[in-house]
């Protein structure tokens, strides 16, 4: 923004909801009743987003780059029904899987702290990460409560053995050392969907289902639903509505419903809703 532009629109900069009029607000819903923790989404994400594999050594030193990881826990959170397994020495209710990727917070802690504004909020509700602007201060990473930002601690893609480099997706940048990266909700797909819609003459409206994220596309059980939260008819916003989850809340008051957002009490307004894992207590 040029200086004159910025001065002209100074009031706009402080507007509460700068993107109120935008037609699109991407959101997701992940049904932990259906998620099996199989990991298709993880590999699909690697394939779609040019994520490097780093090898055993660097996995061990905590340098793996999986934008989407599946967390596996063995215990219930506090205050949950213990579902009748306390007496057993086995995890008889199975494991707890949580696919964890960037939650595209609407009050994102990562955004205000970036000194060069390499991460910012897009009009369609994403936390953008502009690689070529990033200087690698890693402030966003430390400030992310989900720890889903991944820093290129090495030049992982410097010499990919031929011909493995041929599978790199030309739609997005291959990141070099010193920049932060993270889940983008497959922004290259969103971009082309929006472009396709614009070609049809409808700017800003993408029909529900016209675009899928790579993880959603691969999920065998259809646990992941993705779409436009501002479109009342979209699957994802129906899911949010039916589970009484509202975006601008830090507490949902929906005791009977399954929908919740991880760490929403931090008031970061994540765009990803999770649905409770379900177990048959009778079994």
């Amino acid at each position: 923004m040029s200086l004159s532009r910025m001065l002209e629109n100074w009031s706009d900069l402080n507007k509460q909801d700068y993107y109120e009029d935008e037609p699109i607000m991407w959101g997701m819903s992940i049904d932990l009743n259906k998620c099996t923790g199989c990991g298709s989404c993880v590999t699909a994400c690697y394939a779609e987003n040019n994520i490097p594999t780093v090898g055993k050594e660097k996995c061990g030193s905590g340098h793996s780059m999986h934008w989407l990881r599946i967390e596996r826990y063995w215990d219930e959170p506090e205050g949950e029904a213990d579902l009748d397994i306390k007496e057993s020495e086995y995890p008889e209710r199975g494991a707890h899987f949580a696919p964890m990727m960037c939650q595209q917070c609407n009050h994102a802690p990562c955004e205000p702290v970036c000194p060069v504004a390499a991460t910012y909020h897009t009009p369609d509700g994403l936390n953008a990460q502009v690689y070529n602007r990033c200087i690698g201060s890693r402030y966003c990473g430390t400030n992310c409560p989900y720890k889903v930002r991944y820093f290129n601690f090495f030049d992982f893609q410097e010499d990919i053995p031929h011909p493995l480099e041929m599978l790199l997706n030309p739609d997005l940048t291959v990141r070099s050392k010193g920049v932060m990266e993270k889940c983008t909700f497959c922004v290259q797909r969103l971009r082309s969907a929006k472009d396709a819609a614009a070609d049809e003459g409808v700017r800003g409206h993408v029909a529900d289902g016209a675009v899928q994220t790579a993880c959603q596309q691969s999920c065998p059980t259809e646990a992941i639903v993705f779409g436009n939260l501002k479109d009342d008819k979209s699957k994802v916003s129906e899911s949010w509505q039916s589970h009484n989850v509202e975006l601008d809340r830090h507490e949902q008051f929906n005791e009977d419903e399954r929908g919740y957002r991880i760490f929403e009490e931090l008031n970061v307004e994540p765009s990803v809703m999770y649905l409770d894992r379900v177990r048959n207590t009778e079994a």
């Binding site: 923004m1 040029s2 532009r5 002209e8 629109n9 706009d12 009029d21 037609p23 910012y120 897009t122 009009p123 994403l126 953008a128 502009v130 690689y131 070529n132 602007r133 739609d171 997005l172 940048t173 291959v174 983008t184 922004v187 290259q188 971009r191 472009d195 614009a198 070609d199 003459g201 409808v202 700017r203 800003g204 409206h205």
Partner: protein, 249 residues
């Protein structure tokens, strides 16, 4: 005493000069190279686009369909040139046919080379300016590529820097434009004011199949098209995206 003061001033001056030099020298290194690139052979844009008025998109057919305008496949050159015996024996055409016969691609050098983290979508710009606004092809392409019909070999004449891109994108983005359709005035209305076909067809034109080509599209149709848009979207219709992730991802 006086001497001492001069010495200080001099030193300070030297320092300033060095600092300034430090800023200027790298700028020199970044300065744009607009010189001609060494190409396999010189393609005469002046003849094709200038003299024969061949539509840019006849050869660069990707421009309206894809992010990438594309260099025409060798087959496309041959398609015409096998029927133009008059120039068949010129050195350039001979070279062209050598490539064709060997089934080799022509190793053109890229002239408009954006950094790899920049994505410029030709299709959106072409759709917007040529098909929706009805500007002429050469004028539209020329916004970024210069007056190609006067060139022989293509060369880079616009800076193609981020600020340069933004100079347009800012002009047509903001909320301040909403309600006062300046861009619409500026870009749409002149085209829409006339109900004539928008492209003069003095010379035979290659057949462009697209129904919404300006040659076949009238102002009334453009108006009709824009009227079909929902109101909320119509206001944004003319908005240029102003979002880093539009071009960097």
């Amino acid at each position: 005493m006086r001497r001492v003061k001069t010495s200080w001033a001099l030193n300070f001056g030297k320092l300033l000069f060095l600092l300034a030099l430090g800023f200027v020298l790298p700028l020199g290194a970044w300065a744009d190279d607009v010189s001609n690139q060494e190409q396999p052979f010189d393609f005469p844009h002046a003849r094709h686009a200038g003299k024969f008025k061949i539509n840019c998109m006849y050869c660069h057919s990707g421009a309206r369909r894809s992010k990438v305008a594309g260099i025409p496949p060798v087959a496309k050159c041959i398609g015409c040139h096998s029927n133009i015996p008059s120039v068949r024996e010129t050195p350039r055409i001979k070279k062209l046919f050598t490539y064709w016969e060997n089934k080799e691609p022509i190793p053109w050098r890229k002239v408009h080379d954006l950094p790899d983290f920049v994505e410029f979508n030709h299709k959106r710009h072409v759709q917007r300016f040529i098909f929706k606004d009805g500007r002429s092809t050469q004028q539209t392409c020329g916004m970024c590529h210069g007056d190609v019909k006067t060139f022989s070999v293509g060369r880079k004449v616009k800076p193609l820097t981020m600020g340069w891109c933004l100079s347009c994108h800012e002009q047509f983005q903001g909320d301040s434009d909403i309600g006062l359709p300046t861009p619409a005035k500026r870009w749409m209305i002149p085209a829409a004011a006339t109900d004539k076909p928008l492209v003069e067809m003095k010379h035979p034109q290659p057949a462009v199949m697209d129904a919404e080509h300006p040659a076949t599209m009238k102002a009334s149709e453009i108006k009709k098209m824009s009227n079909q848009l929902p109101k909320a979207l119509k206001e944004k219709f003319v908005r240029a995206p102003h979002d880093c992730w539009q071009c960097h991802k």
